[in-house]
C-alpha cells in the first residue's frame, strides 16, 4: 500500500511540474504585454473591454493609486454581494424559494468571497439561490483570484524595475488575469467536469423515489461552472455543503485528480513566472523548490499520521471520507487545500487524526505560502525570502539585499507587519472564542479536539483558506463577525504592505550582480524553509501542544 501510494504521489508531483512550467512562462508573457498563442482570440476582447471600462492600458500608476483602486474595487464587491444575499428572495432564479440570508451570515459571506477565502458558514444548497451562487459566488471567485494574481505580478515588478515610481495598472492586471488565464481555463475545466458527471442545470431540485421506498430530494444547479473557478482560483467555496466530497462536485477519482492539480497549478506556476519576469529562471526554481520541500515534508507527516488509523477503534479512519477517495486522496487533497489557501475539501477535516489535522493547521498558520493562494501565496513566500535574506545579509557582513534591491528599515517594517498581523489576529480571536460561552457553545467535540476546531477556524480565516472543522457551528453572529474581521486582516495585511514594498523597491537602484549573494542555491532554499518552519513553530507551539498534540497523546494512551 505504501509503495503504490508513494508512486502515485511522485507521479502527481511530476505532472504538476509539467503543467506548471509552461503555464508560468505563459503568465509572464501575458503580464508583460507580450503576444501569446491565444492572443489572436483574446486581444480584441481585451481592447473592447478597456474601451467600455474607460481604461487606458498604457498608463501605469504608483503604488498608492494602485492600492486605492484595489481597495475600492474590493469594497464595491463586498457591498454588492452583501446586498445580493439580502434581497435574493425577491430576485429570479430561486426555484426553491430560499429566503433572504441572515445579515451576519451575509456579511461574513460577502467578506469571505471577496477575500478569496470562501469560508462558508452556511450550507450552499439550503441557503443560496442559483442567482446568488452565480452572480455572487461565481463572479467573485474570478475577481478575487484575479486580484491576488495582480498583486503578485506587481510585487514581482518591484524587483524587476529600477528607479521608477510606476508599478502597474490595476485594471489591466485584473482584466488580463481573467480573460487570458482564469476564464479560458475555467471554460475548459468546467466542460471536462460536466463530462464526468458534475451537473450544470437550472432545474428545480429533483424528487426521486428510492428503491427502498423513501423520498429523496436531490439538489441541482449550475455547479460545474462554479466548481471550475472555485478550484482554479484557489477559492474553495463549493456549491454544496459537502464541498468536493459531494458526488455532484467531485464524482470520480479522475475529477479528484484534476481538482487537486487544478488548485495547485496556478500557484505552482507563479514562481516560474517570477523567474521569467526577473530574467533569472534559476531564481524561480529556487522559490518553487522551497515550496515543494515544505509541501513534501508536511505531506509525509500527514500521510504517516492518517495511515495509522484510529487505534481506539482498530479501524482505518474512514469517518468523514468517501470510498472513492480513500485515505491517500483525502490526505493529499486536504494537505494541498490548506497549503494553497483553497479551502475546498473532499473529506471532513474535523474527523482527521490529530497529527494530520495539525499539519493542515500549520499550513495555514504559516501564512499559506506553500504554493499558497493564487498570487498572494508567492507574495507571502517572497516576504519570508526578504526576512531570510535580511538575516543572511547580516551574517555575511553585507547590507541586506535581495534580488539586487537593498533592504532598508521601511521594507522591514512592512515585512514584519505581513508576518505578524495574521498570526496575532487568529491568536487573539481564538483566545476569545475558547474562553467565552459565545465561542464555546459552537463546539462539536469536547476536550482538546474542541480547541482544535476553534484554532482551525481562525487559522483558516486569517490565512484566507476557507476550509473548516465543520463540526464547529460557525453560523453564529459571534463567529461570523470575528471571522469576517480575521479574513479582512489576513487578506489586506498581506496585500497592502506588499504593495508598499513593491512601490519602494521599484524606486531603488539595482546592485551589481557580482556582489550579490546567490539566492538560487541549496543554502538559500534550506534557510528559507528553516525560517518558515521556525517562525511558525515558535508562534503556534503552545496552542498546538494543548490542542492536536494533546489529543494525539490521549488517543494513543486511550483506556490506560
Amino acid at each position: 500500500m505504501y509503495n503504490s501510494a508513494l508512486l502515485q504521489v511522485v507521479l502527481f508531483i511530476i505532472i504538476l511540474i509539467i503543467l506548471a512550467l509552461p503555464l508560468g512562462e505563459y503568465m509572464a508573457k501575458v503580464f508583460t504585454g507580450q503576444q501569446v498563442w491565444l492572443s489572436f482570440l483574446i486581444r480584441p476582447v481585451e481592447k473592447f473591454l478597456y474601451r467600455i471600462f474607460g481604461v487606458d492600458e498604457t498608463k501605469e500608476t504608483d503604488w498608492k493609486s494602485y492600492t486605492f483602486s484595489l481597495i475600492v474595487f474590493n469594497a464595491v464587491g463586498i457591498v454588492v454581494l452583501f446586498i445580493l444575499q439580502l434581497i435574493q428572495h425577491i430576485l429570479p432564479l430561486n426555484p426553491q424559494g430560499l429566503s433572504s440570508v441572515r445579515w451576519d451570515t451575509a456579511l461574513n459571506t460577502a467578506v469571505s468571497f471577496v477575500a478569496n477565502t470562501n469560508w462558508q458558514a452556511y450550507g450552499g444548497e439550503s441557503t443560496m439561490s442559483y442567482l446568488t451562487q452565480m452572480l455572487g459566488m461565481t463572479a467573485q471567485n474570478f475577481v478575487s483570484s484575479a486580484v491576488g494574481i495582480a498583486v503578485a505580478v506587481t510585487f514581482i515588478r518591484g524587483f524587476v524595475r529600477k528607479s521608477v515610481k510606476e508599478i502597474g495598472n490595476f485594471w489591466v492586471d485584473l482584466t488580463r488575469s481573467i480573460i487570458y488565464l482564469l476564464l479560458p481555463l475555467s471554460i475548459v475545466f468546467s466542460l471536462f467536469l460536466v463530462s464526468q458527471g458534475v451537473i450544470q442545470n437550472f432545474n428545480p431540485y429533483t424528487k426521486a423515489q428510492t428503491i427502498q421506498g423513501q423520498e429523496q430530494v436531490i439538489a441541482q444547479g449550475p455547479v460545474a461552472s462554479q466548481e471550475a473557478i472555485k478550484i482554479l482560483g484557489t477559492n474553495g467555496g463549493g456549491f454544496f455543503n459537502a464541498n468536493s466530497s459531494h458526488p455532484y462536485e467531485n464524482p470520480k477519482p479522475i475529477t479528484d485528480y484534476f481538482e487537486i492539480l487544478g488548485f495547485l497549478v496556478i500557484s505552482a506556476a507563479l514562481p516560474f513566472t517570477f523567474g521569467a519576469m526577473l530574467n533569472n529562471r534559476k531564481q524561480g526554481w529556487a522559490i518553487f523548490i522551497s515550496m515543494l520541500t515544505l509541501y513534501l515534508i508536511g505531506l509525509s507527516v500527514a500521510l504517516w499520521s492518517e495511515y495509522h488509523g484510529n487505534p481506539i477503534l482498530g479501524l482505518d479512519n474512514m469517518e468523514g471520507k468517501e470510498v472513492r477517495f480513500g485515505i491517500l486522496n483525502s490526505v493529499v487533497f486536504g494537505h494541498s487545500t490548506t497549503s494553497t489557501s483553497c479551502g475546498a475539501v473532499n473529506a471532513m477535516h474535523d474527523s482527521f487524526m490529530p497529527l494530520t489535522a495539525m499539519i493542515l493547521m500549520f499550513n495555514m498558520m504559516i501564512g499559506e505560502v506553500v504554493f499558497g493562494g493564487v498570487g498572494v501565496g508567492l507574495v507571502g513566500m517572497l516576504i519570508y525570502a526578504i526576512l531570510t535574506m535580511f538575516l543572511i545579509g547580516l551574517m555575511i557582513g553585507r547590507t541586506p539585499e535581495i534580488f539586487g534591491k537593498k533592504l532598508e528599515p521601511f521594507e522591514m517594517i512592512m515585512a514584519v507587519l505581513v508576518l505578524i498581523l495574521p498570526s496575532i489576529i487568529q491568536l487573539v480571536f481564538g483566545a476569545l472564542a475558547s474562553s467565552t460561552t459565545l465561542g464555546l457553545s459552537s463546539l462539536n467535540n469536547a476536550g482538546p479536539h474542541g480547541l482544535s476546531e476553534i484554532l482551525y477556524a481562525f487559522a483558516s480565516g486569517a490565512g484566507n483558506n476557507g476550509s473548516a472543522f465543520a463540526g464547529l457551528n460557525a453560523n453564529t453572529p459571534f463567529y461570523n463577525l470575528t471571522l469576517a474581521v480575521a479574513m479582512l486582516v489576513g487578506r489586506f495585511a498581506t496585500i497592502i504592505p506588499s504593495l508598499t514594498i513593491a512601490g519602494s523597491l521599484a524606486q531603488k537602484k539595482s546592485t551589481p550582480e557580482i556582489s550579490r549573494f546567490p539566492t538560487s542555491g541549496p543554502l538559500f532554499i534550506i534557510s528559507i524553509v528553516a525560517v518558515v518552519v521556525v517562525v511558525g513553530a515558535l508562534t503556534f507551539f503552545p496552542v498546538l501542544v494543548i490542542g492536536p498534540i494533546l489529543e494525539h497523546l490521549e488517543i494513543f494512551t486511550y483506556g490506560n
Partner: protein, 672 residues
C-alpha cells in the same frame, strides 16, 4: 590613541557595574525596546512579589523570577556600559591633556595673548613653535613644523606639517618638535573630531544606523508577536483548566523575546567604534562604517596615497663625455635654493653621489638663483659667468640653442627612456653644455603592493586617479598593483567617476587628503580623509585616518563587516534558543494537569518550578557569557560569503538550537 590595552581592567569593570544601575532609568531604557519590555516585566513581578509578602503568601518562587529578570536587564546594561567605557576612557584622558594646554593666540593687532586652549574658537589664529603642544584642531596657514603625533596615533616618528600642499592639518594635543607655525583653528571647543567620535559612543547621543534600525524593527516585531502568544496562552490555558500565574507568564515572555541580541545590540555597535579607534580611525558616521562592509570600488589618489607624494631624484644620467660627479655638482648647485621637495631630493642625491655631508654645502659667493617659473620651465643658478640651468627637455634645448652646440642624441635617448619608464627627466646644462639627465621618480609608499592585493582578495576593485600622462600612470599602476587607473584626471574627474559608479549600483570608497578631493569625498559612500590632509578634506569625509595610511580601508571594511556579522550571528542564536526554552516551559505549565504531556519534557527537568526558573536563569546569564564575543566581534577573516555563512549557521544556528538544552538541564540539576 595610546590605549591598546584590554578592556578587562578592574577600573573599567567597576565603572561599568555602576553605570548599569544608572542606566536602569526608564527614560534611558526606552531607547532599547526589547530590554525596556524586560524592565517592565521585572517591575511587574517585583510588585507581585511584594504583594505576596504583604499577604503572607509564599513568595520564594516569584522573588527568584523577579530577581533574575532584573539581572537580565542589568547584564544588558553592563554590556553597553563596558563598551562605552573604553571609548570614554580614551577620550577623557585626551581631554585631560588638552585642558592643561595654554595657547598662544595671535590678536588682530599683532599682540600675542596666552589663553587656555579650550577657550579658542573657530577662526582664531594660534602660534606654535618648538616644544609647544598644538592647542586644537586646525590648519597651518604659515610656516612648517615637525610634529610628534604620538599622543593620538601612538607613533613616535615625527611628521612634517606645513602650509601649502596637502599636509596642512594639525590635531590638538600633538606636539611641535621643531619649527614655527601659524594655525588657523577650525573647530569650536567640544566639536573636534574626537568629540564627535565620543558622541558616537555615548549611547545617549548615539544615532542608530539604518541597519541597526532595521534589525530593531524585526526584534520589536518578534517581541510583539510573543507578547500576544503569551497573553492569549493565558486564555487558552483556561480552556484546558490550567491557571498560569502572571510571574510565570512574564518569565515565558522574557524567555521567548530575543533578549540576547536585544541586550547586546548597543554594545556591538559601540564596540565596533572602539575597535576603529584602536586602529587609529576616527569615524564620524556609524552608517559609513557599516557601509564599508559593502564597498566594491575604492578610489585612490596617486600622489600622497599610493606614492610618497613628492618625486625623488633617483639617478644621474650623464651625457657622453661628462662625469657623473660633474653632473651631480652642477645639479646640486642649481637646486640649493630650490624650496621644492624635488629640488631638495636632487641635493640629497648629489650629496650621496659626491659623498658629502650636509654642512659642507653652501652656495658660492656671488650666486644668483633663478627660481622655477611656468614660462621658462627651468630653474638654476648664475655663479659669476657660469650659467647652470635644469628643467624640461625642450626648455633646455631652447636655452642652449644660442651656443650652437648639438643637443647630444644620447641625452635624447635617456630622456625618452626615463619617460617611458614612468619617470620625469630633468635635463641639466651649464652654459652651452648639456651635462645630462636627472631622473625624478615617484616612490611607492611602503607596503602598498601587499595591501592592494589584499583588497583584491576580498573583492574590492582599486582605481588609481592621477593627473599624470597615461604612460607614467600606467607604469605606476602596474608597479603598485592597482586594478585600474584613470590618467590625466582633472579635479572634477574624481567626483564624476564616483557618481557614475554609484549610478551603476556600486558602493564606492574614496581616500583623499587634498582640498580638491573634498567634493569627491562628500559624494563617496565611504570617505576616508588622511589626518595630515587639508581641513576641507577632513570635513568632507566621514572617517579620518590618524595614521594617514591609504590601506587603512582594509581595517575599516573588516570592522564594518564584523559589526553586521556579529549582529546576525547573535540574532540567529537568540531565536534558535527559543526552541529549547519552549520545551522547558510548556510541559512545565501543563503537565500537572495532563501528565501525558510529560513526554514533551525532553530534558527531564525535575519540577515545573525548576524548569521555568532554569530557563529564566539561562536566558539571563547567556548575556554576560556573550559579552566578550560582542566586544571582540565575530571573526570573519577573508572568507568567501558562502563559507562564512555556512560556518555561522552551524555555530550560531545549530549551536543556538542545542546549547540551551544542555545549559538549562545543567542549571536545573544545580538548583535542584
Amino acid at each position: 590613541m595610546e590605549t591598546k590595552k584590554t578592556i578587562w581592567q578592574p577600573k573599567f569593570i567597576v565603572r561599568a557595574v555602576y553605570d548599569s544601575f544608572i542606566k536602569l532609568n526608564p527614560l534611558n531604557m526606552y531607547r532599547n525596546p526589547v530590554m525596556f519590555a524586560v524592565e517592565i516585566g521585572s517591575i511587574l513581578t517585583a510588585l507581585i512579589t511584594v504583594y505576596n509578602i504583604i499577604q503572607g503568601h509564599p513568595f520564594g518562587f516569584n522573588l527568584q523570577i523577579s530577581l533574575w529578570l532584573w539581572f537580565t536587564v542589568l547584564f544588558a546594561n553592563f554590556a553597553e556600559a563596558l563598551a562605552e567605557g573604553k571609548g570614554k576612557a580614551q577620550a577623557e584622558s585626551l581631554k585631560q591633556a588638552r585642558s592643561d594646554i595654554i595657547a598662544q593666540k595671535l590678536l588682530p593687532n599683532g599682540d600675542i595673548e596666552s589663553i587656555p586652549a579650550l577657550a579658542l574658537r573657530k577662526g582664531d589664529i594660534a602660534l606654535a613653535s618648538d616644544n609647544h603642544i598644538i592647542p586644537s584642531d586646525g590648519e597651518i596657514i604659515e610656516g612648517v613644523a615637525l610634529v610628534d603625533e604620538s599622543a593620538i596615533t601612538g607613533e613616535s616618528a615625527p611628521v612634517v606639517r606645513e602650509f601649502g600642499g596637502d599636509k596642512t592639518g594639525v590635531t590638538g594635543g600633538t606636539k611641535v618638535l621643531s619649527g614655527n607655525i601659524k594655525i588657523k583653528i577650525t573647530v569650536n571647543p567640544g566639536e573636534t573630531f574626537l568629540d564627535q567620535m565620543v558622541g558616537m559612543i555615548e549611547s545617549a547621543k548615539r544615532q542608530k544606523t539604518p541597519n541597526e534600525k532595521a534589525l530593531e524593527i524585526l526584534l520589536v516585531g518578534l517581541t510583539v508577536l510573543f507578547f500576544v502568544v503569551v497573553v492569549t496562552l493565558n486564555f487558552y490555558a483556561g480552556y484546558v483548566n490550567v491557571k498560569i500565574s502572571i510571574p510565570i507568564l512574564v518569565a515565558l515572555l522574557v524567555c521567548l523575546m530575543p533578549t540576547t541580541i536585544g541586550g547586546l545590540l548597543p554594545a556591538i555597535g559601540i564596540a565596533g567604534m572602539d575597535r576603529l579607534m584602536s586602529r587609529n580611525v576616527i569615524a564620524l558616521s556609524g552608517r559609513a562604517v557599516e557601509a564599508a562592509g559593502d564597498v566594491n570600488i575604492v578610489l585612490l589618489d596617486k600622489t600622497g596615497t599610493i606614492t610618497l607624494g613628492n618625486r625623488i631624484a633617483t639617478e644621474f644620467i650623464p651625457a657622453p663625455g661628462v662625469e657623473e660627479k660633474q653632473l651631480a655638482r652642477a645639479a646640486m648647485l642649481s637646486s640649493l635654493a630650490d624650496e621644492t621637495p624635488e629640488g631638495r631630493s636632487v641635493v640629497i642625491l648629489a650629496k650621496e653621489k659626491l659623498r658629502m655631508r650636509g654642512r659642507d654645502i653652501t652656495a658660492p659667493e656671488g650666486s644668483k638663483f633663478i627660481s622655477f617659473s611656468a614660462e621658462t620651465r627651468m630653474s638654476g643658478v648664475d655663479i659669476n659667468d657660469r650659467q647652470i640651468r635644469k628643467g624640461a627637455t625642450d626648455a633646455i634645448k631652447d636655452f642652449v640653442k644660442p651656443y650652437n652646440k648639438q643637443f647630444p642624441k644620447e641625452v635624447g635617448y635617456a630622456v625618452d627612456r626615463v619617460g617611458g619608464e614612468g619617470g620625469t627627466p630633468l635635463v641639466v646644462c651649464e652654459n652651452g653644455n648639456v651635462l645630462g639627465v636627472v631622473r625624478l621618480k615617484d616612490v611607492l609608499k611602503h607596503g602598498i603592493r601587499e595591501r592592494l592585493s589584499q583588497l583584491k582578495n576580498i573583492g574590492i576593485t582599486s582605481v588609481m586617479i592621477t593627473g599624470d600622462n597615461p604612460t607614467t600612470a600606467a607604469a605606476i599602476a602596474a608597479e603598485a598593483g592597482v586594478s585600474d587607473f584613470i590618467a590625466q584626471a582633472r579635479p572634477e574627474t574624481k567626483l564624476e567617476r564616483i557618481r557614475k559608479f554609484q549610478s551603476e549600483g556600486y558602493m564606492v570608497a574614496m581616500i583623499g587628503d587634498g582640498t580638491n578631493d573634498a567634493p569627491a569625498l562628500a559624494q563617496a559612500d565611504v570617505a576616508v580623509a588622511m589626518n595630515a590632509g587639508t581641513q576641507a578634506a577632513r570635513e568632507a569625509a566621514n572617517m579620518v585616518d590618524l595614521d594617514s595610511t591609504p590601506t587603512k580601508l582594509l581595517d575599516i571594511v573588516e570592522i564594518g563587516k564584523q559589526i553586521l556579522i556579529t549582529r546576525g550571528a547573535l540574532t540567529t542564536f537568540s531565536v534558535a534558543n527559543d526552541v529549547a526554552k519552549y520545551f522547558a516551559i510548556i510541559p512545565a505549565l501543563f503537565a500537572v494537569q495532563y501528565p501525558i504531556l510529560n513526554t514533551l519534557n525532553v530534558m527531564r527537568l525535575s519540577s515545573p518550578q525548576s524548569a521555568i526558573l532554569s530557563a529564566v536563569i539561562f536566558n539571563a546569564i547567556i548575556i554576560p557569557f556573550l559579552i566578550p564575543l560582542s566586544l571582540k566581534g565575530v571573526q570573519c577573516k577573508q572568507d568567501s560569503p558562502m563559507s562564512l555563512l555556512i560556518r555561522n549557521l552551524f555555530i550560531y544556528g545549530l549551536g543556538g538550537l542545542i546549547l540551551p538544552f544542555i545549559g538549562i538541564k545543567l542549571i536545573d540539576m544545580i538548583i535542584h
